[in-house]
Symmetry: C2
Subunit: 240 residues, 2 copies
DNA sequence: AGAATAGGCGAACAGTGTTCATGTTGCAAG
DNA sequence: CTTGCAACATGAACACTGTTCGCCTATTCT
């Protein structure tokens, strides 16, 4: 029973999503005007409030959408990179930068200065999108650990579980993920916000060097034969 | 001759600076209200335009001030760290994070999402502040190279000069500076914007590990026995 | 059928950045 | 000292913004 009301609502909500995204692309996060969005979506400003909780709700929509699309893009690139740790890191870095370059306003919105008074409510749609975003990147580390491609991390296993639904993760691996993410994110965000212009360097090349360096820092020396890695590819998830 | 008018102007300009800074701290960059600043500075909104070019001018004031104070804080920490490359990098990282933690809104303003339509005019006050900010960090790399503490960089010397007044710098060193900055900045900005909360890790410890890793990546091996570096070091403290 | 409810709208309010004509000073030249 | 001028300061006005409210229509449920 597809109520006529619901299909209308869904369609209009999609219009709002499209309108706000195109407005975001046109003006940037700070200038996003609720009234303008209402205008291009073909609705009155007050009518928007039946669909979205004010301007913050509009932003939350875009934040969730951004994390989702960003995460998906990165996850696909990683999946396409095969099972080698270094290859995956390089693919991660490149896709990370590519998405940021292609969607600068949304990148700034989701990973730039947080909008004050905007509490992302961990259980809301933004919260789950954020986890879906971080997961593939964390998974690169977990997989590498599971297939023995990481440096023997002598860290004391103080496993922490960030999601009750998932197995706990050794703190040492979390730290590796943090540091790897930070290295990629650092260069990408500096470039995205225009702080590397003065260098005159080819950021793609620098980022690739950095990705390889990440693999070298945390990964085992890669002997020329990759058979051992191939063999271990079965294990998908680390078991506590 | 200190005309009475000029002293008044200078004093009021300082009031404006103070007011806008305190307003920034109270509300954040996006909500900074020109009218409110005028209110606490004791001037009419339109009167503000005699001192500052609208809201963007107000922000430029804060951006320049932020880069200046940030740069000074980092430079002092580096200077206090002695002459050892690794010590300097650790000091740089710690002071970088400290300042960001202590001035979150201004940090977000100067290194977070750029305000659209805000062109930082390289020769304006913001431009020079930016260079003063980046200089000490770049200097760490240059000094290390000059004192032979860096890995022999096999990069072809394609020197680029970013400032005509300064000697050109080999591109290889620029790349090292970029990557080092990116590694520190990445972790700091991720933490500052709340993206590391889920990790439950001690960011100070992680950042310190990262700083040491930077020194290990680009610096010469510092074997515990080699006293040459140690001797070259000043009497300054180098704890841990 | 009738009642309940979700959807949509315009008016209104308080706030914003910015401009402009109008006064009001400070200061230097005549 | 007087005059003239430029800098200063202001309040009103304009075009916006986000948000709330009451009113009305159209769909859905009983």
């Amino acid at each position: 029973m597809a109520g006529r009301r619901e299909v209308l609502r869904e369609s209009l909500l999609q219009s709002i999503r499209d309108a706000s995204l195109s407005e975001l692309r046109r003006t940037g996060p700070a200038e996003l005007s609720l009234r303008e969005v209402a205008r291009v979506a073909g609705i009155s400003p007050s009518g928007l409030y039946r669909y979205v909780e004010g301007r913050d709700g509009l932003l939350e929509l875009l934040v969730a959408d951004g994390f989702e699309r960003f995460g998906k893009a990165v996850a696909e690139a990683i999946a396409a990179a095969g099972f080698d740790f270094a290859d995956q890191v390089v693919a991660l870095a490149e896709s990370y930068r590519s998405w940021a370059k292609a969607n600068p306003e949304q990148f700034a919105l989701i990973l730039g200065s947080p909008v004050v008074g905007f509490n992302p409510d961990p259980n809301g749609p933004t919260g789950v999108a954020v986890r879906q975003f971080g997961m593939p990147m964390l998974q690169v580390i977990l997989d590498a650990a599971a297939t023995g491609q990481l440096n023997a991390s002598p860290s004391p296993d103080a496993p922490i579980d960030l999601d009750p639904a998932l197995p706990s993760i050794p703190a040492g691996l979390i730290e590796i993920a943090m540091r790897s993410w930070g290295r990629i994110h650092g260069i990408v965000i500096l470039e995205a916000f225009g702080h590397l212009n003065w260098t005159g360097q080819d950021v793609v090349a620098v980022l690739q060097a950095e990705a390889k360096s990440i693999a070298a820092t945390f990964g085992k020396e890669r002997s020329s034969g990759s058979a051992s890695v191939r063999k271990a590819r079965g294990a998908k998830v680390a078991k506590r």
